[in-house]
């Protein structure tokens, strides 16, 4: 059991981060789409479509951070200083946005509500962009000296990380649009359906560009993706992505309501798996492996006992809450 603990935990942390990305992704995406949709009622419906669940969605971010601290403290201790600026700005943006959620409904006059709406939109864009930048900075590699981060406080800033930042804004926008296709109807649904098409093209273009950049910039990635026999094994990922693209656009054209969201989740999953295959078996590319970053087995085992019971329980009641709030969000009604 003991030698597998770090691998089990790496998988669980990866799942938690993925859960965060797609769950908070769609509610950050709703903020990203805000300026592209006009109308007071429409804005209220958009926020109501995520209001009962955003808080739970964001908890996965805390699990990602807290979990890393618990079971891979070395990775936590190296990555957070390395990603100091983008993470700090992201947290501040989430602060703006989280408070705006509650406050925009309670605004005493229009001017105040517009101010909270701006804070909601700005927070969503900045938080998403920073997450994308952090992802890029992680993938491009982090300088380590001893058991600590060895680089400067601007190392994260490269054309590559800026590209992943913009790419994630498109990707979350796509998730948000697909979620709204599911949760809304009428004119608003038509509008977001239209937006979803454009955002999907943009997202796919960024996935392509980022993949290309990784192969061009890094010999290690090039070796994994372009040399036989590994290339044949990993080629499954881009092939499935192509198939999913066809499915997505046909679902969108045929007016399907749930399929586009599921396809968008598929885009994220495949891209995520692709990134995982690229950095494997590193916890902190390019030098700290999963095994090296792991906490002692006693710590990993202690939390695993709890997690193996609690994560299923969390999933069950989170699913229950989503089920409670199922169905279309109506204009002027909101949740009750």
């Amino acid at each position: 059991m003991t030698p597998y603990l770090p691998l089990i935990w790496a998988l669980l942390i990866a799942v938690a981060v993925f859960a965060y990305v797609v769950l908070d992704g769609f509610d950050l995406g709703v903020g990203i789409l805000f300026p592209a949709v006009r109308g007071h009622d429409e804005h209220n419906v958009m926020v109501n479509a995520v209001a009962p669940v955003w808080d739970g969605n964001e908890t996965w971010l805390v699990l990602g951070g807290g979990g890393l601290f618990a079971v891979f403290p070395l990775a936590y201790a190296i990555l957070l200083p390395a990603l100091y600026m983008p993470l700090t700005i992201m947290l501040l943006a989430l602060t703006f946005r989280g408070v705006a959620f509650e406050m925009r409904f309670r605004a005493r006059h229009d001017r105040e509500q517009r101010r909270w709406d701006r804070s909601f939109v700005g927070g969503s864009y900045v938080a998403t962009f920073c997450q994308g930048v952090a992802l890029g900075a992680f993938v491009q590699g982090v300088k380590v000296s001893g058991r600590a981060y060895g680089g400067g406080w601007w190392d994260w800033l490269t054309p590559f990380s800026l590209m992943t930042g913009v790419g994630l804004v498109c990707g979350y926008g796509l998730l948000g649009a697909c979620w709204l296709i599911w949760k809304t109807e009428g004119e608003l649904q038509r509008r977001v359906r239209h937006l979803a098409g454009g955002l999907a093209w943009a997202t796919l273009a960024f996935i392509g560009a980022v993949s290309l950049a990784m192969i061009v910039l890094s010999p290690a990635f090039r070796a994994r993706w372009l040399t036989l026999p590994t290339a044949l094994e990993v080629a499954v990922v881009p092939i499935m992505l192509l198939g999913l693209t066809v499915l997505f656009f046909s679902a969108l054209r045929r007016g399907r309501e749930i399929a586009p969201f599921l396809c968008a989740l598929g885009f994220f999953l495949l891209t995520y798996v692709g990134l995982g295959l690229s950095v494997w078996p590193m916890m902190v590319p390019p030098s700290i492996t999963i095994q090296a970053a792991a906490a002692p087995p006693a710590s990993q085992a202690f939390l695993l006992w709890g997690a193996s019971v609690l994560i299923p329980v969390v999933l069950i009641y989170t699913g229950y809450v989503y089920w409670l709030f199922r169905g279309k969000v109506k204009i002027g009604v909101g949740y009750h």
Binding site: G66, P73, T88, T95, G334
Partner: protein, 484 residues
């Protein structure tokens, strides 16, 4: 530039942690108690079906939603603070306290976040019984969360159940010993009761504020009465718990207690200072005014016992800011005594049948509204500044815990936190104050909404079933009409 020195990354990182954690804790200090208060109100409503309970519940639910959101977002920041500025601490100590935080997320945060949505939006969807369960789960979640985070904090104060490896990392050997470390039971109880009293002060202050305007308002009477019962009962309990906590601290962290007492010399029958100015450089407390033998009495429960002063310990193990510890402790204790005074006066007035009539007493209760926040903050400053110069008491120095981030980066992020927190939480608090000033009414209609009249024809249900709703007002107010 002679004489002027720039703050180091260590100073800045400490300032940043202090700033974000003080802001953060204001919210749980309030929501831990408020969640339990809401569960009691809803339970009373279910048991009695009296409208006053539901109306009061809805009044405080609106406030809870805003305060809880601020607690969540400031808490997300906290889970990253250990890594951004204190990464060496995280690497060394993560194997022991990291799993506590992991358990906090898994057992408490998901529970709170998941059922908060039901609590705020779900009464009509799930019905009163399941809704009450959601309220209780959120309340229990706050208590579980406190359990884990205080286990982690207490472990840093009185570490147990670990070994230190050759490279200076802390590895767990006994989870029971680490979790139930020597100061944990005291700190946990003291913090929970502090949170309940903080809520009681706010609820009592708001109730008194509205009683001053209309002493017949049944909702204001209910909240005021319940809050005063809390103050009368838990106020003395808290002083007793604080005393036990103090005895425990004196055993494990005598330097901290000596700083709290402003005591440099070891004394037999040590006095307790009401006022003074501890001067660490001179090693003496100036302008000291004290009560003989009192410190010996409450620290050892023997008035003639010897109490060690700071000079009994190496200079480099003294807390770094002794006046801060000294005055923070006095602020906490002073406010604690005022809370007991408030609670006991309420008992007397209740006995005389004048609880809702005495305007002077109600003004006192209004003035005490923020007392809990100040006392809780002062208490945390006492224990955290008193833990210095260590992060893990006696074993890992704060100076050896800080990460490699350069001072300008820490300064920039500190500045950003100050600006953003002041703007966001400042307006959040101003808005909370506005909610406090709203008179708690029957059928509490909630705040003004975008659409005064709901679009006709979407659902006919409200008119038929007597369920009242407001268009997109998210507060509990529209969840269910208690007067069908």
């Amino acid at each position: 530039m002679a004489g002027l020195h720039l703050p180091s990354a260590l100073d800045l990182a400490r300032s940043q942690f202090a700033f974000v954690v003080v802001w953060h804790f204001l919210y749980p200090a309030f929501t831990i108690g408020l969640a339990s208060f809401l569960a009691v109100l809803e339970g009373c409503w279910l048991a009695t079906k009296r409208a006053v309970f539901l109306d009061t519940f809805q009044y405080w639910l609106r406030i809870f939603a805003v305060v809880f959101a601020m607690g969540v977002v400031s808490g997300v920041v906290m889970s990253y603070q250990f890594g951004t500025n204190w990464s060496v601490f995280s690497d060394k100590v993560g194997p022991v306290i990291g799993p506590f935080l992991g358990y906090e997320v898994l057992t408490a945060f998901f529970l709170e976040a998941g059922f908060l949505g039901v609590m705020l939006f779900g009464l009509k969807r799930v019905g009163p019984k399941l809704h009450f369960m959601a309220t209780c789960l959120v309340a229990v979640g706050t208590l579980i969360s406190t359990f884990w985070i205080l286990a982690a904090n207490s472990w840093m104060q009185t570490p147990a159940g670990f070994v230190i490896t050759a490279d200076g990392r802390f590895f767990p050997t006994s989870w029971m010993k680490a979790l139930f470390n020597p100061s944990f039971p005291y700190r946990y109880m003291h913090t929970i009761v502090a949170a309940y009293l903080t809520t009681a002060m706010v609820v009592g202050g708001v109730g008194a504020f509205h009683l001053l305007k209309d002493k017949a308002n049944p909702r204001a009477r209910l909240m005021f009465s319940m809050a005063m019962w809390m103050a009368a009962i838990l106020g003395p309990v808290q002083i007793g718990l604080g005393d036990l906590h103090g005895v425990n601290s004196y055993h494990y962290q005598p330097q901290k207690v000596a700083a709290m007492e402003g005591q440099f010399e070891t004394e037999q029958g040590a006095r307790s200072l009401i006022f003074g100015w501890p001067d660490a450089n001179a090693g003496v407390t100036r302008f000291a005014l004290g009560i003989p033998k009192l410190a010996s009495l409450y620290l050892t429960h023997d008035p003639n016992a010897v109490v060690k002063g700071l000079k009994a310990f190496p200079r480099d193990t003294w807390p770094t800011n002794i006046p801060l510890v000294f005055f923070a402790f006095r602020t906490m204790v002073g406010l604690g005594i005022l809370i007991v005074l408030l609670g006991w006066t309420s008992l007397f007035l209740r006995w005389r049948g004048r609880l809702y009539d005495s305007r002077l007493f109600q003004r006192f209760a209004v003035a005490m509204g923020p007392a809990g926040f100040v006392a809780v903050t002062a208490g945390w400053i006492t224990t955290e500044a008193g833990r210095q110069p260590y992060t893990v008491y006696g074993l890992l120095r704060t100076a050896d815990s800080v990460g490699p981030v350069a001072a300008p980066a820490v300064a920039a992020s500190l500045l950003a936190f100050v600006v953003v927190y002041t703007a966001v939480f400042g307006s959040g608090m101003a808005f909370t104050a506005h909610l406090f000033s709203q008179t708690p009414g029957p059928h509490d209609p909630g705040p003004p909404t975008d659409q005064p009249v709901r679009t006709a024809g979407i659902t006919a249900a409200p008119a038929v079933s007597g369920l009242q709703e407001r268009s997109d007002d998210r507060s509990g107010a529209r969840m269910l009409d208690p007067h069908p």
